[in-house]
């Protein structure tokens, strides 16, 4: 609807800015509160792992596909992780055709940034034959609805999908001539899982007035000139950081934002883990989009 218009009047903006100043935002949240998050994994059956996540009105679907490929020559003993983001026109008519591409590249670069470090995910576990074959994990993100704070929602959904990912076990056998052969296990339950403990989540801190908020709604995003996207792991390590938006920040507030990003990010990580483990241990019916 008209939310795609993306403009606010000066008075509305003022109302939001003063609210942030009072630590009481337009929907009653304090500056460091998240909106309600709903997550469900294993929603697309022909993927190796998938997750759907709703954060407020932001709706993300992630599918992970494991395919075999060649490793990078610089890293012969490691598998690969490829990100692709599609801002679907379903989310907003603005995204029709190539309209969503710019935003999609921004999001995939942000994902790339937090997964850049080798301590994030053990890529050597994805190696099949060094310098020969490896698993390539295609992480495909589909944005279905946009209600603010896209980056955080995407990172949550990606982590949930990676948690859900199962890679078939392979056995490499060498015949007499030293030719290596790859054999895929027939048993669908004979699978390998990924260790996602070190996978970071993005916490976006938006500077509004003199304070900053987490999980900005789209209205609040319009009031913010500068944002920090901070990757935070479960242990509180900062994994990737980027300033966005057309404004600037003074150094002191950057340090404060990093600190609150770390604090919120750790909680976010542990809550996500709890929810995912709860889902795995309960024999509940999948709800998906029919719910």
């Amino acid at each position: 609807m008209s939310s795609t218009l993306g403009v606010l009047s000066d008075a509305e903006r003022l109302f939001i800015v003063h609210g942030v100043q009072d630590d009481l935002r337009s929907d009653g949240r304090a500056c460091e509160d998240y909106r309600h998050v709903q997550v469900e994994t294993d929603v697309v059956s022909n993927t190796s792992g998938s997750a759907r996540l709703r954060l407020g009105n932001t709706d993300i679907l992630v599918g992970v596909k494991a395919e075999m490929g060649e490793p990078d020559p610089g890293r012969p003993k490691e598998g690969k992780l490829e990100f692709f983001v599609d801002c679907s026109a379903n989310a907003s008519p603005e995204f029709e055709g190539r309209g969503g591409e710019e935003l999609a590249i921004e999001v995939s670069n942000a994902l790339q940034r937090i997964f850049n470090s080798r301590s994030t995910l053990d890529l050597t576990a994805l190696c099949i034959i060094p310098e020969g074959q490896c698993w390539v994990l295609y992480v495909d993100v589909l944005v279905l609805e946009c209600g603010g704070n896209l980056f955080d929602a995407v990172s949550l959904a990606v982590k949930a999908a990676l948690f859900n990912t199962r890679i078939p076990t392979v056995v490499v056998t060498a015949d007499d001539e030293g030719q290596q052969e790859i054999e895929l296990s027939d048993d669908p339950y004979d699978v390998k899982r990924l260790d996602v403990d070190n996978v970071p989540l993005i916490v976006t801190l938006s500077k509004i007035g003199h304070r900053h908020v987490v999980d900005a709604s789209w209205e609040e995003e319009l009031c913010s000139l500068a944002r920090l996207t901070v990757g935070v792991t479960q242990k509180g390590t900062i994994a990737g950081l980027n300033k966005e938006g057309s404004g600037s920040l003074d150094p002191e507030s950057i340090y404060e934002m990093i600190e609150s990003g770390k604090k919120v990010g750790m909680v976010l990580n542990s809550r996500l883990k709890e929810a995912l483990e709860k889902e795995e241990n309960s024999k509940r019916e999948k709800i998906g989009f029919l719910g």
Binding site: L61, G63, D86, S88, Y138, L144, L290
Partner: protein
């Protein structure tokens, strides 16, 4: 095809269906809040999502404004993870553009566009999982989404495929059956007025068999219609009850 029997000796198909049986259809209207209308449909393992925006002011490309009716704008895309082998692009390839065009033609035929001069209606469909009959799932999902958006249509549009394999017509072809290389027909029709809106076949079929397959496909469309109509009626009466109760 060697090694894979599409129809068993007992007359069952790979997924256990009879030859004139539809896959299970589940649907939901009003999946999203921000769009004017939205719907989700599952036909077996084929899953599609449709959203409708409008009728609204033409904001991009004012040149396409029609002074006597609304412009219908469609986009078909497939999630990169929707197919067995990963797709590299979700949209923009020839097949998707063709699908978008078909969808536009289909819905221009049923939406009462004369009521909305100078405005635009956007229909976006997204295949989340592909297992044959993608176009049909899209049409069916889009029909529900248009109804959800409260946009006047002359009738439902329901779509279904029918194929001809091992000398017998088969309804609602799945991906395995599709890739067996047998001819199949895609039909979109307005079930109440029994008019065909789209008919497509890209392979060779003996003219004598055409009628049989077409009959089966139209029957399939009516079966789909029965499921969709029940869902719409349930949805409307439930919401109506909630709204009048206050």
């Amino acid at each position: 095809m060697a090694g894979l029997e599409i129809i068993s000796d007992q007359g069952y198909r790979i997924d256990g269906r009879r030859s004139s049986e539809l896959r299970k259809v589940c649907a939901r209207m009003g999946v999203f809040t921000q769009a004017d209308g939205s719907a989700y449909i599952e036909q077996g393992n084929t899953k599609a999502l449709a959203t409708v925006y409008g009728p609204h002011e033409v904001r991009k490309g004012r040149g396409k404004i029609q002074h006597d009716r609304a412009v219908v704008n469609c986009q078909f895309s497939m999630a990169t993870f929707s197919t067995g082998e990963r797709k590299s692009r979700p949209k923009g390839d020839r097949r998707s553009q063709e699908m978008s065009m078909h969808l536009r033609q289909t819905f221009e035929a049923v939406i009462v566009t004369e009521l909305f001069p100078r405005s635009q209606i956007d229909i976006y469909v997204q295949i989340l999982q592909a297992d044959g009959g993608n176009y049909c799932a899209c049409v069916n999902a889009a029909t529900l989404a248009v109804i959800d958006a409260g946009i006047p249509m002359k009738d439902y549009v329901c779509a279904c495929t029918a194929g001809f394999i091992q000398d017998s017509p088969l309804l609602d072809i799945s991906y395995v059956e599709e890739s067996a290389g047998a001819p199949f027909l895609t039909v979109a029709m307005m079930p109440k007025s029994e008019q065909i809106v789209l008919l497509e076949m890209n392979s060779r079929l003996h003219a004598d068999n055409m009628e049989k397959v077409l009959d089966l496909a139209t029957q399939g469309c009516k079966d789909v219609f029965a499921v969709l109509d029940r869902h719409v009626r349930d949805h409307v009466s439930e919401s109506h009850a909630l709204m009048t109760a206050s």
